[in-house]
Amino acid sequence: MLILGIETSCDETAAAVVADGRRVLSSVVATQFELHAQYGGVVPEIAARRHLESILPVIQAALDRAGVSPQEIDGLAVTQGPGLIGALVIGMAVGKALALAWDKPLAGVHHLQAHILAAFLTDSPPEFPLVALVVSGGHTNLYQVHDFQRLDLLGRSRDDAAGEAFDKVAKLLRLGYPGGVIIERLAAQGNPATFHLPRPRIPEEPLTFSFSGLKTAVAHQVKNHPEVLTDPGVRADLAAGFQEAVVDCLVGRAWLALEETGCQRLVVCGGVAANGRLRQVLQDKAGAEGYELFLPPLSLCTDNGAMVAAAGYHRLRAGERLDMSADVFSRG
């Protein structure tokens, strides 16, 4: 069964053809990174306009690279949310129009569920049940995943997403954008134990994330130790201390979720899952304690159409069809 997946929730215009929810025949991603870099992040209206220009060529490229015609496609899948409304609307309109024109079934896909299903587009996919941590610039969500369709939210951030905290701390340290990559590089040269930074937790909600307090603590250190901004060694130490605190919070919550649910498998996905230090700590801990860890390849960690096609495949197979009057949603 061949599914065409369409993804426009943020700043990547993406389409892919996936066979049976497993095999990626093509995956095309047109990034808008350059367009938004001057604003230090995505500007919704600018993203929507670029999606409109890119979406049809990207879909055509995905079909061409897979070597399939629209007639050979068995169904379409489109990201319904969460994401930027103006951006989502473009993919949704195109998905509906193509489904009608080609007379194919259409599935609406939850963006974060699609991120989790990226772990199934590999040679050794996990089994259910599992715990999934979706961690990116816009989300820090922990789920218990029962099967391809059902998942329960266990916790999320009450303030900044993890990737957002990286960007803000990079700005506090006058490092530029995107923060995640720059801080990781700098942190590799620093000593994470030099600065003592908090690991914020909310006692009554142990699986809820909070990164705002950590960001505030970094701001305090910059104020109390101005040499952070002039001495590269001290700055690297603070970057390392911050990264270590974020990694501790992410890994600690993920393990608490594994213990609470009794699951043996953990999927970590989303853009921040590209962080080398996070991957290393996860691999060490999973190896030492006998948990199965699944880290999708980097190309599937960031937004892409293949994960949307995979999620849509399971919805269509379960008999789900998106109502043609269905709308996109920004949060949830």
Binding site: Y39, G41, V43, P44, E45, R158, S212, K215, S330
Partner: protein, 158 residues
């Protein structure tokens, strides 16, 4: 113009003040939040949401990444965060204008970046970090509605 000063000793105290304001909010009210990173602007919006009876399950969180979040409540709460935008791209202006003149309550972080888009009538809330958990609030009422809110704060809260 009425200028009020208030000291918050904890995030919980900040939320309590914001929740009181949330209970008084009327359609079209605008709150302009100013203060450096980590001063507690998002914390303030948590309290505001509580006062506006936004469902806690809605999960109020920072909109720095997406710029605008909207939450249904007693009145819709529009949470705008201009942190990333040192200059406003023209493409953003129609959306911002619509939200700032809508029937909901708009809370704008880094409101100084609104420039000419800032309405005449609003309550300005400036937060200064003075210690690990203490914050110095300065609140100014602009326009008749802003003055009314400031007067009520002075009467019932300070």
């Amino acid at each position: 113009m009425r200028i009020l000063a208030w000291t918050s000793t904890s995030p919980a105290a900040t939320r309590a003040l914001a929740a009181a304001l949330g209970r008084w909010m009327a359609p079209g009210d605008v709150l302009a939040l100013k203060g450096e990173l980590g001063s507690g602007k998002t914390e303030f919006v948590h309290g505001l949401a509580q006062g506006l009876e936004v469902d806690p399950a809605a999960g109020v969180a920072s909109p720095s990444f997406t710029l605008i979040h909207e939450y249904p409540g007693r009145l819709p709460l529009v949470h705008i965060d201009l942190y990333r935008l040192e200059s406003l791209p023209p493409e953003m202006l129609p959306d911002l204008e619509e939200y700032l003149s809508g029937d909901g309550v708009a809370a704008v972080e880094w409101a100084e970046r609104l420039g000419a888009l800032l309405p005449k009538d609003y309550l300005e809330i400036e937060i200064l970090i003075t210690g690990e958990t203490t914050r110095e609030f300065t609140m100014r009422g602009h326009g008749p509605r802003g003055e009314e809110l400031a007067a009520r704060l002075a009467r019932e809260w300070l």
